[in-house]
Symmetry: C2
Subunit: 448 residues, 2 copies
């Protein structure tokens, strides 16, 4: 038979078992953190009618979307988790209770050219809070607070959630008389990190023909190094939108502190604009302080209307999305995964040393009932191969069960890390292993 060459599509994720353990551990901790904030889990379909997925239409996203036909139906595969959420909320409006808080950790697909840290199949972890007719500003603080707890539970320490409010930017443009160029200005300001102050100033002046006064006020605002509320104060009272944005920023800041988020992990950053059309208030970006070059690993913000394509109901929301596959790629690349976590598929390997394996079967059953992840090595191989199986998989404990042990109702346990070997009653050793495994399980997937 002609053989097919086994391969995985470029840009698609397929992790080796140990990597998968880290990834799943992260996903589980994210689920737990989001659950603590009262977000309910959703799991929306990966496919929808093309009309739904492409409701927004046009541009790069549409080109990158995977589409297909089945019978007469035009289908498309989701490129994010917001599009399915919008449909879900519109479709189930009467059955949901608002404000509606959901999280979803799921795959999305974009047929873009795969490159370093960019994937065609990738996980996102999203939280959103959707209001019905209105949504209090406290929610804008809950989102980064949930994110903070989430990252901390992963073991991440050196990150910073940067927060701004689009209303202050829009208001400032009105005050400076450059509202007609606001989209172009925001796009440039968003690049500040990449191009630096001088290039930004030059572009604002030359390309957008702003006056020197306008440029200098804008630059002063977005690069202000002192307390941002000082410079916000300077403009307050001149423009309603600006004032509302400044008030919202202050409220978010105060609540975030109330939620116990330390100032080392968040910052009001007046330069962040984030997306051009969608966000209307608070915006978020998150960077790894030791790796600014990777950009934002988690972004989001406040939007006026989630489901305008489907309904006239006013459904404002606020949310954030972790690029989980991208984050995982960065953590691996930057050697930030914690080797100390228990990445083996089992806590214990039972090696029967007699032909009759019934004692091993009984012991494994007892161990599993005690919550220990247990394998029995049952293949007919040399002793060395059996022990090396545990070694390769980094299974921390091996139990030998020979005639002597069975006769004496004892077991022999080898600690694969220290090499130490003890023979004693099963009850004592099982309790012993369970305790040690429990402490291994407290390790976080990311090195701090």
């Amino acid at each position: 038979m002609n053989k097919i060459k086994p391969r995985t599509l470029s840009g698609f994720t397929e992790l080796l078992p140990v990597q998968q353990v880290y990834f799943n551990d992260m996903a589980q901790k994210i689920r737990e953190a989001f659950s603590l904030y009262g977000f309910t889990p959703l799991d929306t379909p990966l496919m929808d009618a093309a009309e739904i997925i492409l409701a927004k239409g046009g541009g790069e996203t549409e080109q990158q979307t995977y589409t297909l036909k089945k019978g007469d139906t035009d289908l498309a595969i989701r490129f994010d988790l917001t599009t399915p959420l919008a449909k879900y909320v519109a479709l189930n409006y009467s059955r949901l209770t608002f404000p509606f808080r959901r999280f979803e950790i799921g795959k999305a697909y974009r047929g873009e050219r795969p490159q370093r840290g960019r994937f065609r199949e990738f996980y996102q972890a999203d939280i959103d809070i959707i209001g019905d007719g209105g949504l209090d500003i406290l929610n804008d603080a809950e989102i980064p607070s949930a994110l903070y707890r989430c990252f901390k539970s992963l073991g991440l320490e050196r990150f910073e959630i940067r927060i701004n409010n689009r209303k202050t930017l829009s208001g400032l443009y009105e005050i400076l008389g450059i509202s007609d160029k606001s989209t172009a200005v925001m796009r440039l300001v968003d690049k500040l990190d990449k191009i630096g102050v001088e290039k930004l100033a030059a572009s604002l002046k030359d390309d957008l023909e702003l006056s020197e006064m306008q440029v200098s006020k804008l630059i002063e605002f977005v690069t202000y190094k002192g307390d941002p509320f000082d410079i916000l104060g300077k403009y307050q009272g001149q423009n309603g939108t600006f004032d509302m944005g400044a008030d919202e920023l202050l409220a978010v800041k105060q609540h975030l502190t109330g939620f116990g988020v330390p100032e080392t992990n968040f910052k009001i950053d007046l330069s962040i604009a984030r997306g051009l059309d969608y966000y209307t208030g608070t915006v978020y970006e998150t960077c790894l302080l030791d790796h600014p070059e990777v950009g934002s690993i988690c972004s989001g913000g406040r939007y006026d209307n989630l489901a305008g394509y489907y309904t006239d109901k006013n459904l404002p929301g606020v949310g954030i999305s972790i690029g989980l596959s991208r984050l995982f790629y960065i953590l691996q690349e930057q050697n930030m995964l914690n080797e100390a976590i228990l990445s083996s598929p089992a806590d214990v390997l039972v090696i029967p040393m007699t032909d009759d394996r019934s004692a091993a079967v009984a012991l494994a059953t007892t161990m599993r009932e005690a919550g220990l992840r247990t394998q029995i090595y049952s293949e007919d191989k040399k002793f060395k191969v059996k022990v090396s199986y545990a070694d390769k998989l980094k299974i921390p404990y091996v139990v030998f069960l020979g005639e002597d042990e069975i006769a004496q109702e004892k077991i022999t346990v080898k600690d694969m890390d220290s090499g130490e070997q003890v023979t004693a009653s099963p009850a004592v050793l099982i309790a012993n292993i369970a305790e040690k495994v429990k402490s291994l399980r407290t390790e976080k997937p990311i090195k701090g």
Copy 2:
């Protein structure tokens, strides 16, 4: 703007929040049970090159497979979790340690006509153990033992794992001189449950032209009501394949008992044939004893070679697949979900009764740190609306935080179930709630 009608594709799964809680709880318990048996989690891509997904080719499956083109590449979406596993093992052969035990809980897609309990997008939960060159029979007992523990952890009691061995069937056909018709005979025998003994006998005689002696021996064998090892013993010593099958069945039975699986939950059933080409030894089916009409909810068996399309290496395996979406559908339909589980998105709703919400923010933070899933109701609504929010979402505890409470450093907790209301110090009440919530969390998703 013209509105789009929000809709979900027919046959695609989109659960309401409460349903999703049950489904996720089940998935989590399945993960935990499989982990106890040392299965490592995998998460393979949903798409692959069409050549890979359709390696087996032909038949109904190929017609039902979703295919698409991106650029010059022919892609297909997986229709099960075995096809991606075969590719994974072939691709990563040198990086895996054998026997390789993996579980995967993931979505698969089949564009078949949606009907009651059949889905186009559905979850499967698979476990497989893959050997390199060989695989001990003990693994054939580990699989149903893991499944037993899995179902028990879900709360399912009235199920039966039915086990047979294809070798006894093949051997019997050789003994009876009907090997040339074995495929057709197996197909008919597989229908025994549906068509009954008389129709089976008639078909065997009339359609397959078996002699009366052949029919009566076959019928006697597959419908034998006594200890199956009695009738197996009657034929033993006449055919090597038969004898091997009978020995394997006995070993599986003995080990299953050793693993603590009671006879109420498994049965050696000589009539099961299961799939026509793929399985070569042990085969499994699982039925709900009170709902035989829904057929097998979990099936699998032993196969000789997982990855023959890719490699000449001999990779025998044994595995089982739970049709999770289908099982969930049946559980809902049969009213078998346990209403007593905590299906709310939060354990506590904090309702601030003052304009300043900082006390509520601080309290919610303390509660979250104590592991309580907490929401703050922050919208400016009438008191009744706030309480009804908790009521609709079945949040078990509501905390009122008014001026008096804040001044006295107390909180008022309302138990939404009993209606009882207590005012006391936060520390005492938080511990109290945490204890009660912990006991609510021990409920299993399925009613016994």
